[in-house]
């Protein structure tokens, strides 16, 4: 078995396969072009912001662990440059030794992740422009922030999760931060009526937000960035962080002839086999997944999916049976104390997928109103008309709010209607909810909206 890419998906698949097949039965070689294996990419903003002190805390398992406990031949700084399906062979380059290696496989695991989207203007040799997808990316950014002269002005381009989290991280480090977002609100993963609360919270932290603004170029001096140029004038910058999302790494797959889907990711079946290609598996940020609500393929790069998919692939490679059931787009994040949760479809997704729907939102609190520490919480539901089936949900609130999305995610997973949801037996006690849980109030309001 050859694993291409030694992060969450690849190494989870490898170690899962090892649990089922010992080294006499299955030899495993893993090529990773970076310096690390199995780390928490999602933790990088917190390391940059200083919330997490030590980079090593982000590493779930070190190469030595894989070598010793799992007998996996991990080869760091080895970049696979070619996959030959006919010869069942990969060609890898040792980035330090600068030599080429060829290895035969009987089973291939493709798990090369994703790369930050690079706009045309960033395609240059100007120093001070960073994505934050890999731990190597994060280390480079941190080194830049700690270099002399110390950067003081940061511009974050794009207001998705990474952009929002990085803006907070950089302001926590004491930089002035401007977030530039093309859309009308940052946090485009929720509907604009919910995102406006996130924008307000970011402004309250001191982050300047410029929406409806597009970056068109850079200015530099002595090879270092000095500003981003936008269609609304220049914004000074000693450091620029890209938060424009990521695209699946598929160059290698495409060259080898692996099938790509409409979302851009590698196409796989439920068992994480690459469609129509014998003995080749793929998982993680480089594949596309089925969205269980829209029925459409989507590319949702998230560690939780990468781990689940890697486990499924590993069980199947090991001779067991497992299937990945698809995703529903659940995600949580926070801006300072403001918590955001979402699952399923936004209004624009529901439109695009052809649903008719109603949407409601309710203002409630995370605790009984009389209980100390009660804070506002907004729940939004989107329900199909006329069936009442839940299509999407979003929560924004000031504490103990984000993870409540899980109850809605499980309701959505099970295709519950909002009418059924009004009867749900959810946990009630004054420190945890009003006697009518905000989720139940929202479900009742959606039922009323459907009746109109």
């Amino acid at each position: 078995m050859i694993v291409v890419g030694g992060d969450a998906a690849g190494m989870t698949a490898a170690s899962q396969a090892r649990r089922l097949r010992d080294r006499d039965d299955l030899e495993i070689v893993a090529f990773e072009r970076g310096h690390f294996t199995s780390y928490s990419a999602c933790g990088i903003p917190y390391w940059i912001g200083g919330v997490v002190d030590d980079r090593d805390e982000l590493i779930a398992r070190h190469p030595a662990t894989f070598r010793e406990s799992y007998q996996i031949d991990v080869r760091l700084r080895h970049e696979v440059t070619r996959i030959d399906l006919d010869r069942r062979e990969v060609v890898a380059r040792d980035l330090d030794g600068d030599r080429e290696i060829r290895e035969r496989y009987d089973t291939l695991m493709y798990a090369v992740g994703a790369t930050p989207r690079l706009p045309a203007w960033a395609d240059s040799q100007v120093a001070g422009i960073f994505g934050v997808q890999t731990l190597d990316d994060g280390a480079a950014l941190r080194a830049w922030l700690e270099s002399e002269p110390a950067p003081r002005r940061a511009v974050v381009v794009g207001g998705g999760y990474i952009g929002v989290e990085m803006a907070e991280a950089l302001i926590q480090r004491g930089l002035t931060v401007t977030l530039v977002e093309r859309a009308e609100q940052p946090m485009t993963t929720v509907d604009p009526d919910m995102a406006v609360r996130v924008a307000d919270a970011m402004r309250a932290l001191g982050i300047e937000i410029r929406t409806g603004v597009e970056v068109t170029g850079l200015r530099e001096r002595d090879g270092r960035v000095t500003a981003v140029v936008t269609d609304d004038g220049p914004v000074p910058a000693d450091v620029v962080v890209l938060g424009l999302g990521v695209r699946p790494n598929t160059a290698l797959a495409e060259a080898a002839g692996l099938p790509l889907g409409s979302s851009g990711g590698v196409r796989v079946d439920r068992r994480m086999r690459v469609l129509g290609v014998p003995d080749v598996w793929a998982a993680g940020d480089c594949v596309e997944s089925l969205h269980r609500v829209s029925g459409l393929p989507v590319h949702i790069p998230l560690g939780t999916h990468a781990n689940k998919q890697g486990r499924v692939a590993g069980i199947n490679i090991g001779g067991g049976y497992a299937a990945f059931p698809g995703v529903i787009g659940t995600a949580v994040t926070k801006v300072c104390e403001l918590e955001v949760g979402r699952t399923g479809l936004r209004e624009q997704d529901a439109h695009a997928a052809g649903f008719e729907f109603v949407s409601v939102h309710v203002e409630s609190t995370n605790r009984a109103g009389y209980y100390p520490g009660a804070r506002p919480m907004t729940v939004k539901l989107i329900a199909e008309r006329p069936s009442g089936r839940l299509l999407g949900a979003q929560i924004v609130g000031w504490s103990e709010a984000a993870k409540r999305i899980d109850a809605l995610a499980v309701a959505l997973w099970n295709e519950m209607t909002v009418d059924d949801m009004t009867g749900l037996d959810l946990g009630y006690a004054p420190p945890y909810a009003p006697v009518w849980d905000p989720v139940l109030i929202a479900a009742r309001k959606a039922v009323d909206a459907l009746a109109r």
Copy 2:
């Protein structure tokens, strides 16, 4: 329409019916023997403990609101003493004026709640013994605590929710507190292996816990309690709080000939009609409910059910259609910072209901291990063998733990198997969960246990 009992269930039914039928169409009279309507009984321990300052904060709606905004003729301090089904008449006593009133009904709403279980030894005229079911009970206890000589030593008898919450409330007020519990652990609403963590947290607060001990009597001086007598010796007490659970108030129902179920509560159909009795409805702590997992009738007195049931009854009385789908036993509480959530069946319930099952528990954390503030969290799952259907779940953890039971409650509600649950798309970000959510780890462990 006559409403017997003016708390959550009765007044919710009345106001819901009013929304659908105006005063020309439906006259509503509500008799309440206490001084209050629609208050949060669940908030009483927090008022006693001083977490909530003002009693009035616990009152959701005052009688004046019902009278003015809902045109409901609320009569406080009126105790209904007899229901005559043949004559469609109730007899009520004005407790202050000491006179009797007769009123005819076309629709009767029976919502008289529950009363703390009174052991034989407490059936006396000794002062200083309190239940905490009604706001009047709470007011009496608070007055006693503030009287002279100020009580210093409290004994709480019984370690259910109310007992545990009251023990915490009393120690917060500066009393010494001993909790006496017949079982091997307090917090018998979860399995003993989970309850032991609750007991440890209570001891850490300074609460003395005496388990396996039964109270057999009282000692008194000048009509005031001085100790409880147990089968393990006397325990000094200036105040005794009963936490032995409650029993549905059914004396009136029984005398009238309303049907009672095996759990002791009034039997109702899905629309909250008293079974086989025309135009009589019942809801709240005085009725029994269907447990959706065991299929058995249960008596679970909780404000959240009372409100839902009252709403269902009110919609039906108003001419609409609504059904109460039953309960699954979800509940949350806390002891200081330790949070407890539970849903479905405990091991002993699963045995009693005839299930074969496996149970697993996992130790994890509420956040990514490297994220500041990560605290231990234990998740226990009980799954039917061999089907894998989730039967019950319990969570104990140190922060942001209890409400996570809701995701498990929704899974259980939808009769998910633990195998299906391993694929659930739950919210992941380092401040909210490890990359493998504790719920998913537990589901995987249950799958493994089923395979053995």
